[in-house]
């Protein structure tokens, strides 16, 4: 599994410190920075910790060390960089060595393969449903090796200017509800800076429980929930709700979905339906958007979207009921966490 899990720390004698040191030196020579960071082997794989919690950690990867997922291929059990990459020979060689020694072998390849295999063992009807209704195609469709690599990469990339990129060492950070945030670094790179105690975590960001599962393959309760993609008629118009929480605009200091009106269809990049911390916000945002689109009965439309989502996840629970096994249990947890977040919508405040 990708490094989503907040795991127990266990010391390990299996870590090759000399190899690690060599990789850090090469990383530095190519422009990367790691300050106050040390490796630690945990139950779920290799992780990073802060050497001295009293000081900030700094992880910085310059542009030449940010790799595009589409340039990565799985060949003969090893991840390689394809010919399409922008990186030069030194950078490619370093990255392949890093993947082989640490990231793929030490942290994640096997656990990603395991999850994909669990999906392959699921009932075919259930698989179809998970793909069609919950966007879990990435676990289900395509050759096994492609899916394993896709999951491995997806759980380890960071977003930078709308692009998902793989940054050595940063990919080893665990993901959690709380954690540090990646930001744009100097010369087009990415930087993570902050104080941390114990394992270093990168925050999940805007993903809800379903989003976390789709991206990282792990199930975690999240404080908010976005709608599944759906489309239905609202008066003379169509309303098309997408599920892209990363596409948003800032308005009055608040993240709002992008709204487009095109050929009689209102497109919303996403709709937040529940928020534990700000339970009056989801309906308020939706009201504001419908006002802007000059659509009436916004509360009833919001209720319909909420209804659609609740019944979809309840229906998933029903479909899972006759089955058992590790993945079934995990999918049940996803559905229950999502339903709990969907419940966090009370009233509406003025925006």
């Amino acid at each position: 599994m990708p490094p989503v899990i907040e795991s127990e720390q266990t010391e390990s004698s299996n870590l090759d410190h000399q190899l690690w040191q060599g990789l850090i030196e090469d990383f530095g020579a190519l422009g990367g920075t790691l300050e106050n960071v040390a490796p630690r082997l945990t139950r779920t794989g290799l992780a990073l910790i802060s050497e001295n919690p009293a000081h900030s950690v700094v992880l910085r990867a310059p542009r030449n060390l940010l790799f595009r997922p589409e340039d990565m291929v799985l060949e003969g059990g090893h991840v390689r960089i394809g010919a399409t990459t922008e990186q030069n020979q030194h950078e490619r060689a370093f990255f392949e060595r890093y993947l082989a020694a640490v990231a793929w072998t030490g942290a994640g390849g096997a656990s990603c393969a395991r999850l994909i295999d669990l999906f392959d063992q699921l009932d075919p009807g259930l698989r179809t449903r998970l793909a069609e209704e919950f966007g879990m195609n990435r676990f289900i469709e395509g050759p096994r090796e492609t899916r394993i690599l896709r999951l491995f990469v997806s759980g380890r990339t960071v977003g930078l200017r709308g692009e998902s990129l793989f940054a050595p060492f940063i990919d080893l950070m665990k993901r959690g509800n709380r954690g540090l945030h990646a930001s744009a670094g100097p010369q087009g790179g990415v930087e993570i800076r902050g104080e941390a105690e114990g394992p270093l975590f990168l925050a999940f960001g805007h993903h809800d429980t379903l989003g976390v599962f789709r991206k990282y393959g792990g199930e975690r309760p999240r404080p908010h929930a976005f709608s599944l993609a759906t489309q239905f008629k609202v008066g003379p118009l169509e309303l098309a709700v997408q599920r892209d929480p990363l596409t948003s605009i800032q308005r009055s200091g608040m993240r709002m979905p992008q709204l487009r009106l095109e050929s009689g269809t209102i497109h919303l990049s996403h709709v937040m339906l529940g928020n534990l911390r700000f339970p009056r916000t989801p309906r308020a945002i939706f009201r504001a958007l419908m006002r802007e689109a000059e659509v009436g009965h916004s509360d009833a439309i919001f209720d319909r979207i909420l209804y659609f989502n609740r019944t979809r996840f309840l229906s998933l629970l029903e479909a899972l009921e006759p089955h058992s096994g590790e993945l079934v249990t995990r999918l049940r947890r996803v559905a229950l966490f999502q339903l709990a977040a969907l419940a966090e919508c009370t009233g509406a405040r003025e925006l």
């Binding site: 209720d303 319909r304 609740r310 029903e318 009921e321 947890r333 229950l336 339903l339 419940a343 009233g347």
Partner: protein, 342 residues
């Protein structure tokens, strides 16, 4: 088991019992006993059971005494009716079947893991059956599950109460007498009262996909008010064609006999009722109050599902299904509409 191999009726045959019931003013047409309840003799013909008011025994007068169902001595009930009821209630083989079902239900509840039992007790008001001994809980369930609403109270309607419950069953019709009438392709099922999946589970021991969800009993503080919500859907009054809860206010305390939170047949109704009665009680933001009540309910059922997650077994599956049905019914709350004025 078919109707022809139904449990023996001790020394009182079904036909003799019906004869005596008829002599006391009751009417039974096209009905035969079956394994779990009643069936139609000829599905092409309507079934009818009519119980005159004299034979409708008020619930508060009926109790168990030494494992026998009896009518309280102080109740003013004519001797022929009393005598009929005692024999009817204690000699029919169906009673044995119902008792066995109830005991099995409570035994399964009692065998649940402690943590689940604790949640059932604290969050779902199922502490009484869990604390009682199984036999006594089963007796209470038998008496409570088949009561029908009759003239501002509840009563046991002989013969009708032998039928199994189903939400789409025949509805008791109330006039001078109480009756069920209609067609039944095979088993006759009756909708004794309005239930949601939780109350149907508590009374009938099954997961039933009811269309409505009522709030759990709770107190919630909204603005300057304390709102107390009960769980008694029978205590309602009609507003136009819509049933609304009985409401009483005492200063800053508002008491509702129940509160509908979701209804598949009329998804705009729950918020409309809440908005109307809360506004009339002086609450400024009834929508937020309603949402908070829905949230609290939903989270309790989700919490139950999470608590059941590591467990297996038929009662666990039934509880899971019940919780899912309740959450489904809760989801049926879409928009709102105007209610008729009071």
């Amino acid at each position: 088991m078919t109707q022809y191999s139904a449990p023996p009726h001790d020394e009182w045959s079904w036909e003799s019992m019906i004869q005596e019931f008829s002599a006391l003013g009751g009417v039974v047409k096209n009905i035969v006993p079956s394994e779990h309840g009643l069936s139609s003799r000829d599905p092409a013909e309507p079934v009818l059971i009519r119980v005159p008011p004299e034979l409708l025994i008020r619930s508060e007068h009926v109790e168990f005494l030494d494992d026998r169902i009896v009518i309280d001595k102080s109740a003013e009930i004519p001797e022929p009716v009393r005598s009929f009821f005692h024999r009817y209630a204690n000699t029919l083989g169906l009673r044995t079947a119902h008792t066995a079902e109830a005991i099995a239900f409570f035994s399964a509840l009692a065998a649940l893991p402690d943590a689940v039992r604790q949640v059932l007790a604290t969050d779902f008001g199922l502490s009484a059956p869990l604390q009682d001994d199984t036999a006594s809980a089963a007796r209470n369930q038998i008496l409570n599950s088949r009561r029908v609403f009759w003239r501002r109270g509840r009563a046991i309607a002989p013969i009708i109460e032998l039928a199994r419950y189903a939400p789409d069953g025949l509805k008791p019709e109330r006039g001078r007498s109480l009756q069920i009438y209609g067609y039944a392709s095979k088993e006759i099922v009756v909708r004794f009262a309005r239930h949601d999946p939780l109350s149907a589970f508590a009374l009938f021991g099954r997961a039933v996909p009811e269309t409505a969800a009522f709030s759990l009993p709770m107190q919630i503080n909204v603005e300057n008010f304390a709102i107390l919500i009960g769980r008694n859907p029978d205590e309602s009054k009609m507003r136009g064609k819509d049933p609304v809860p009985a409401i009483s206010t005492d200063g800053q305390k508002i008491t509702l006999s129940y509160l509908l939170l979701g209804e598949r047949k009329s998804p705009a109704l729950p918020r409309s009722i809440c908005r109307t009665v809360f506004t009339e009680a002086g609450i400024q933001d009834p929508d937020e109050a309603f949402d908070r009540i829905v949230r609290s309910n939903a989270l309790k059922f989700i919490n139950l599902l999470q608590g059941l997650e590591p467990h297996e077994g038929s009662m666990t599956t039934t509880l899971r299904t019940m919780a899912r049905y309740q959450l489904e019914a809760l989801a049926y709350c879409i928009g709102s509409r105007q209610l008729a004025p009071s």
